[in-house]
């Protein structure tokens, strides 16, 4: 089941990763080799096998829904590339907004 370059571009878009047109062939080849290798799993009949979602079978722990101190705004924004008015600034998302 060889991967097409169109599929790789689709996956790159899903992953929010820009790939240059001159990289696509190499990336496709690398991914194909790994996918070809992992295809051996299909040899195993796993119809009656439960997937391992946790190695010890532990359930997600719950805690009481209580207000507790959290990261102060200044600390949360300390590493932000574009802090604005106690928020994270980003480029515009839709046409017509401010840049």
């Amino acid at each position: 089941m060889a991967l097409s370059e169109i599929q790789v571009k689709h996956v790159a878009r899903l992953a929010r990763l820009r790939v240059e047109s001159d990289e696509i062939a190499q990336i496709t080849q690398d991914l194909d080799r790994v996918l070809e290798y992992v295809a051996q799993l299909s040899q195993l009949d796993t119809d009656t096998v439960e997937p391992t979602m946790h190695v010890m079978g532990l359930a997600m722990p719950l805690r009481a829904d209580e207000v507790k101190p959290s990261l102060p705004v200044d600390a949360a924004l300390k590493n932000a590339p574009d802090p604005r008015d106690h928020m994270f600034g980003v480029p515009r998302i839709m046409d017509g907004g401010d840049a």
Partner: protein, 486 residues
């Protein structure tokens, strides 16, 4: 004896007895690091002044307060994927260049509370993805035994720093062998605890169902000492096990009556001659001590790498989606939000990280999830059951840590799949969630050979005893001479 030749156990004893101050210790260690770092390249960030300040603070405490600190004055190195408020944390990625975390990892807080002095952050493969530390965005780390060879990875900086006697102990993280394989290549001891034993709060996540933090050291006692400090329940980590962690037992194992399993599937054609021969020598030694060495079968071994290289990239693709240029880290320009995301991630991540993100995104995408991710999680169950059945018959399992000794720079980095295949003996412990330790078993042509001991889930105590017993049988008497020293 110089401070850098001492184990952590020796250093803390001397500091407790006031035979040496923490400041003296850190000064000697810092001088050595400064002299050797240009050769080894173990650290992404060093803070000698900060370390001296921490040491002075330890020295200023009362005797009673110091006695309460099991690592009083002990210099320690921390892999750069664990957050530290007073040093940058980059995971060896350009996307986190200069990142100053707003909180400490739980393990970092535990080290500090125990009196340890964090001297710096160690180099690694970017986001812990790799087996040679060549995938660091910043620098190469050289194996102290042969500077033309890799230290292994991804915790290559931590293993090299310990082997070069820059620090007695270090923290690494292990998702598919990233503590044990570099420990093996650098001739030190490295433990991957059971899944959930050590809090991962503040560990930059790679593959959340596999990641675990663990200690590296030049002696089993030091590994146990550090393990004791970092293990235990942490409410800040939802995957942390609520279990008693009594101090690990002291002393070596009694070999007589110990059942040691050797999986027949691990003795395949892939195994290099020197490692196969050493494993055979070890088995002979153990039998001479009265251990019963039995052949066991782990029938799904052949599927472990395929399983691992679906699960780990799938989880990585999800975990690494947080690096989008919005809240922290590098941001590239872009005409709109989508373009900014795509440019930031294209410029911020290195090639191996991109490969795994793409592979993982594909394995999780609509139409492929069942065939890839879910299938791999089912095969994982079979691999886990293999171990459960084997541990009904034996107390520990003995394997090689790696198929061969440390390789040269560039030898495997051109072929990703070839690099993945060398993880064959280590990934199974992460898939099964069991503890595993790599211990040195001497040298072959001047390069360390490691062997691995696997135990049942939560079986760290027995594993450490076995490792201690083996260390007595097979002591590491020499450490690499560097920079013209004898």
């Amino acid at each position: 004896m110089r401070a850098y030749d001492m184990t952590a156990t020796e250093i803390s004893q001397r500091v407790h007895r006031k035979e040496m101050s923490a400041t003296e210790c850190v000064r000697e260690v810092a001088d050595r690091i400064t002299a050797l770092e240009p050769l080894v390249g173990a650290f992404l960030h060093l803070d000698v002044q900060g370390a001296l300040n921490q040491a002075r603070a330890i020295d200023a405490l009362s005797d009673d307060e110091r006695q309460q600190m099991p690592l009083a004055g002990v210099p320690v190195a921390v892999k750069d994927n664990m957050t530290t408020m007073d040093m940058p944390t980059t995971a060896a990625s350009k996307i986190l260049e200069g990142f100053m975390a707003p909180y400490n990892a739980t393990v970092v807080n535990r080290l500090k509370a125990a009196g340890a002095i964090i001297v710096g952050k160690t180099n690694m493969d970017e986001f812990a993805m790799g087996s040679s530390t060549e995938h660091s965005a910043y620098q190469l780390t050289h194996n102290p035994w042969d500077l033309s060879r890799v230290p292994g990875g991804s915790s290559g900086g931590s293993a090299a720093a310990v082997a070069a006697r820059m620090v007695p102990i270090a923290l690494g993280s292990d998702t598919g062998g990233s503590i044990r394989q570099p420990a093996s290549y650098c001739g030190v001891t490295g433990l991957k605890p059971s899944y959930g034993r050590v809090s991962r709060y503040g560990l930059i996540a790679y593959a959340s169902s596999l990641d675990q933090i663990g200690p590296l050291a030049r002696s089993v006692d030091d590994v146990a000492l550090l393990y004791d400090i970092i293990a235990g329940y942490d409410p800040l980590d939802a995957t942390s096990i609520r279990a008693e962690t009594a101090r690990v037992s002291e002393g070596p194992v009694d070999w007589k009556g110990l059942r040691v399993g050797v999986p027949k599937e691990y003795l395949s054609a892939d195994l290099g001659g020197v490692v196969a021969q050493r494993l055979q020598d070890v088995i002979t030694q153990l039998e001479a001590q009265g251990a019963s060495v039995l052949e066991v079968s782990l029938p799904h071994t052949a599927y472990a790498i395929a399983t691992y290289y679906l699960i780990a990239p799938a989880e990585a693709s999800s975990n690494l989606s947080r690096f989008d240029g919005v809240r922290y880290g590098y941001r590239a320009s872009g005409a709109d939000l989508l373009e900014m995301y795509e440019n930031t991630r294209a410029q911020g991540f290195g090639p191996e990280v991109k490969r795994r993100i793409l592979l993982g995104t594909h394995a999780l995408s609509a139409g492929y999830y069942d065939a890839y991710y879910l299938k791999a999680q089912k095969v994982r169950t079979l691999i886990r059951q293999d171990f459960e059945q084997a541990f009904a018959l034996v107390d520990v399992i003995l394997t090689p840590t790696t198929p061969d000794v440390a390789f040269r720079f560039g030898e495997k980095s051109s072929d990703p799949l070839q690099m993945y295949l060398s993880d064959v003996y280590t990934v199974t412990a992460n898939l099964a969630g069991i503890p595993a330790i790599s211990t040195p078993a001497g040298l072959a042509d001047g390069l360390p050979v490691g062997i691995q001991w696997l135990g049942p889930v939560m079986g760290e105590d027995r594993l450490l005893q076995v490792a201690r017993g083996f260390e007595e049988l097979w002591p590491s008497s020499t450490w690499p001479g560097l920079g013209g020293e004898a």
